[in-house]
């Protein structure tokens, strides 16, 4: 869900806005899309949920989410920190330990995520059924 755009179209169009449900959507700088980019990644929402109950260190997160690679763990954490969801605190021990915790912004997002999680759990079966029905040979 990138906001990327080549220069040609960028030069032609100017601030196209779609008004949907009374909400103006700036196609080129859409808040919804922007947030979706942040938490739509493979591990991002899981990461925020993991820190809901308190700070965790890198290796703790690694153990909590068994299937993530170091690479993606590092990258996901950096992305979320960059967008203000996470704090990163380095303790100069030997060897060093790094603790991650939710910011106020991160905490404020938890209820949103909860609504999403609840709906997903409740409707996942229906979705899977719809999918297999659709894929069934006509």
């Amino acid at each position: 869900m990138g906001t990327a755009m080549n220069k040609a179209t960028a030069a032609v169009k100017g601030e196209r806005v779609a008004v949907i449900c009374g909400v103006p959507f700036d196609i080129d700088n859409c808040p919804v899309r922007d947030v979706m980019d942040n938490i739509g990644g493979k591990w991002n929402s899981l990461m925020i949920l993991s820190l809901a109950d308190g700070p965790l260190r890198f290796s703790q997160l690694r153990r909590l989410i068994p299937d993530i690679s170091q690479r993606m763990l590092t990258q996901t954490l950096r992305d979320l920190q960059r967008d203000g969801y996470l704090n990163r605190t380095v303790y100069p021990t030997q060897p060093p330990s790094v603790e991650y915790s939710l910011t106020d912004l991160g905490h404020s997002f938890l209820p949103v995520l909860k609504v999403f999680v609840d709906w997903s759990l409740e409707n996942h079966d229906a979705i899977r059924k719809a999918r297999t029905a659709f894929d069934a040979p006509a």
Copy 2:
């Protein structure tokens, strides 16, 4: 956010589950991830919102969301139909017209989306500020 996995790792691992916030997350078949895949695409959520007020035809959607290509419009609509969010009704006129509308599942998702949209609008500035602060040269 694909649930894809090569056979080697699939054979090795068996039903790893991470318990986060009291909710068990089946890493390999995670409802949250599955739903996120559905509506995390570039146009998907916008499409659902567009149909919130009532059914629309293909060309109407095209006009409503000016920057989408035919290809992505078709594909997005098919994906959402496949997962049960949308109905697709063909009227055998000349030339044919096709109408898209939300299913019950699609309607039930609107409140979830609204929570998400509201939060995004409210916190977009904070996120952008966090981002530029993070990107600022140390």
